[in-house]
């Protein structure tokens, strides 16, 4: 009796979860099978969402909150705490620009300004056409080639702002 609220068997007639969230229920069952329950399920569920979409769509976060009976603010707080979770869809290609010391000395800031102008987005965002996601990272470990950016798994070193448009053009939409 004392555990009524925690046992997850609430009977409230919420509208049957849309088909789209069935995968979450499956993830709950899997994690529960491993003995996880209640709020311990939060991270496994977020991983399931990200596994499916590559990021955390807002409606799915709301569904996670609903399923676990935790406030959305908590779900969002956890999602923004861990590096591994993304709240926006990733573009087809990921650009990582280095903010490390060597690159900094060799003009990484100019490169970033140029990227910003070229892509029309700020670091951490994705272009509206879904082509690029742009992130800032600490040293990429290629200091010899500074300044460096990485696109998907290719390095582009000793880069000048002028070279950028030609390089970006070669990554398909």
């Amino acid at each position: 009796m004392a555990n009524g609220a925690q046992d997850g068997s609430r009977l409230v007639q919420v509208q049957a979860p849309a088909q789209r969230f069935a995968y979450l229920q499956a993830a709950v069952d899997d994690a529960a099978a491993e003995g996880q329950r209640g709020e311990e399920l939060l991270i496994p569920l977020l991983q399931a969402v990200q596994g499916k979409f590559g990021y955390l769509p807002a409606e799915d976060l709301a569904a996670v909150a609903e399923i676990l009976h935790v406030p959305l603010s908590r779900v969002y707080g956890v999602a923004t705490f861990y590096n591994q979770f993304r709240l926006t869809p990733v573009g087809k290609h990921i650009i990582r620009s280095c903010t490390g010391t060597a690159c900094h000395v060799k003009g990484a800031q100019m490169l970033r300004d140029a990227l910003q102008a070229e892509l029309g987005i700020a670091p951490g965002q994705t272009t509206p056409d879904g082509r690029f996601t742009w992130e800032l990272v600490a040293c990429l470990g290629a200091c010899g080639m500074a300044p460096v950016i990485m696109i998907d798994d290719e390095f582009h070193g000793r880069l000048t702002p002028q070279q950028l448009p030609r390089i970006l053009r070669t990554y398909s939409a």
Partner: protein, 936 residues
Amino acid sequence: MAADEAAKAGFRTAAAPQDWVRLSVDGRELAVPPGTSILEAARRAGVEIPTLCYHPELTVAGACRLCLVEVEGARNLAAACATPVQQDMVVHTESPQVVEARRTVLELLLQNHPLECYRCERNGDCRLQDYAYRYQVEAPRRPGAVRHFAPDDRNPFFVRDYDKCILCGQCVRVCDEIQAIGAIDYTRRGFNTQITSAYGQGLEEAGCVFCGMCVDVCPVGALVPKYALGAGRSWEKTWRRTICPYCGVGCAIELAVKGGRIVGARAAHDSPANAGKICVKGHFGWDFVQSPDRLTTPLVRRGGKDGPLEPASWEEALHRVARGLAEIREQYGPDALAVLSSAKCTNEENYLMQKLARAALGTNNVDHCARLCHASTVAGLATAFGSGAMTNSIGDLAQAQVLLVIGSNTTEAHPVIGLRIKEAVRRGAKLIVADPRRIPLTRYADLHLQLLPGTNVALLNGLAWIIWKRGWYDAEFVAARTEGFEGWSRAVEPYNPEYVSKLTGVPVQALEEAARFYAQAERAAIVYSMGVTQHTSGTDGVLAVANLAMLTGNLGRPGTGVNPLRGQNNVQGACDMGALPDVLPGYQKIEDPAVREKFGRAWGVRLPERPGLTVTEIMDAAARGQIKGLYLMGENPVLSDPDAGHVQQALQRLDFLVVQDIFLTESAALADVVLPGTTFAEKEGTFTNTERRVQKFMPVIEPVGAARPDWQILLDVAERLGHRWDTRTPAAILDEAASLTPIYGGIRHRRLGPAGLQWPCPTPDHPGTPILHTQQFSRGKGLFYPVTYRRAHELPDEEYPFILSTGRLLFHFHTGTMSRRSPELTTHRPWERSEINRQDAARLGLKDGDVARIRSRRGSVLARVEVTDRVPPGVVFMTFHYRESAANLLTAAALDPVARIPEFKVSAVQVEKVAPEQAPAVPEEYARCMRPEARV
């Protein structure tokens, strides 16, 4: 319940003193119960350890590290708030090592803190500032980056200044643990950590109810009410304790006063009624006290009925009142007079008002707005138990294992009781909500029984049928403590689940489930309110509730009971004090000669014998010309009574109308004499909250202008009618009331501490009664009174296809005259938003914010609509807070045959879309409060 579970649930396990842990704190020897933290132990010994993230009413976070102390023999410093005491522990709270560590913590905080104390609201009352001073921490020179985020001031209530936030997390915990909303949490990480809602959306979208409890717990100036900005330094304000003037919870609050004006409010932590909790109205709803619209002088109508109301002296006004009333009495007899007392006034004032009617005017025509909300409770529970009040206490609800909440939108109408229900759920209780609407409480419910409006009796009988037929009832209790079971069971016979499901629209399986939950629990409580009472079958509904509780033996023990939630802050007291036509104070029947004899002797008069008229009957009699003179105190029937158009005509027809109020209300505008009374903040007296707790309060400010406390006015009027009463103070008035009222027999002003006293309290040494009917019912045996389902007086048809239900909103109160004068409340909810279901709206072409004409057989109003699935198809919901969209023009004065309560919860209406330009304008006196200059 296992011990650890019990501890988790918040019960401290009781240990005998010999098992207590002994320790030393700063050389002081003490013994405390096991499980006590070092911090709490030290506080008991009078040693104040500094804290930033600790709050005694919240879980321990151990986040700020300011409470570090040295424990001899331990390798590291320990966080006092999170470390339990151990036998023979030796603790040093201010050793050099400790002080050094605290300085470091404070330096790090100041590193990222704007040093703007000069303009900070909390200057002088800020824990960071206090500790930085106490430990003489130097202002940092800021080598590194300083965080800067724009403040969040998107809501009308308070500002969150991220730069001042020290991330103690108290606001997060209070919102999650006490308010159970969880609007905010820590988001992002490291340097960028902030307390925000999900996606940084506005607090309203995040479900915030603007209780402001987060503001109250913030130890620094990061959360500040907008009203406080620039309104006074902490040392210029004094905090004075009083009782919230809004709902029947009766929260103890504190008002900040500067230069004779109220400049702020917060919860008080010393009354068991609210135990430190508060809602948005208590926190932000006090502006009306100082509104420029307050009546500051008496007014009299000069030059006949069509003449103007003009300022007058008290002398002239009181003379006119006495003469006007006396003339009518002489010419037409005392029963041509009537008075309406007030659930907003004190016990003392209600006592005087009914005494004035009975002893000075000679009529029993005295009533008040309780008729409109809980007359059926008083009638029904008096029949079943012998006493018409909440059986258990507010705090007690959290002990229930199952809660059945029926016809009570608790989180909006009685918000702080709503918190207790959420607390019970948090402790593992099952919650069943029976309501036609998907009210906010359904979010916490295990079961929502979405019954059709007006089918409570069928539902309750149906649950009882299942419990009875399945043999789940408490036969022992029924046999030992009740009577009438036989007759009752015959009446319930037809209410099988299939039939009940057809009547109520609730699926059979949900009925079975609800009955099983309720019957299984060892402690189950029923909470109900106007959704049960405001029907033509209101008294039957109350009786059906009582039957269900008796059937399962859920009475007379903690965590059980039948708990009607009373609407106004003193509606319980107004009833207790006999502001009712058929009973004298303490529900002593006027028809009983012995009772009349007792009061007659005490008052030195012969009391009128026949019960008087009720509110609705008074209005009818006035319309017919039978009632010629009416004295209204703090009531505005033009807006609050059913069929408002009819009420207006009735008041116009009177020969003489006196209105005593704080504003020139719609009713006052029709008066011959208007007497300026005072608000709760300007007077002394007692209020009795919904759990029968009599609480005393003192004036916080002086009366505005020439206004006078209502008890003084009543004494003056009585005197001019030839009755000089020598009870010249509220304490003396209550003494007299108590001497004649057994249930108040032991209640005296001087006995009333912060916790007040719960009646019955028959003798001066009686401790009060938290739970009624523990050994036997007030009437001896509990009575099973058979009730059967009757249809509502009016059902939808082709012409009027919708059911209109009326009720309240969290952010406003009653007819809005108080709450709509708060800049915060009125900016947040400026106008009516009648709720209509998505499907219906689509059919009528209505979108959110569109304007609709809602029409019943009695009248029609215009209102903006909100398209929602809170109401089911076929139902429209309106509040009665907005006079420009007055719902009571639509409701009918169809009455419950016993309690004469009107059926506010069911009327048939039609809805049509009209042009947006037809949106009713916000009345100027409230529109003004939304402008920026409102707060100067």
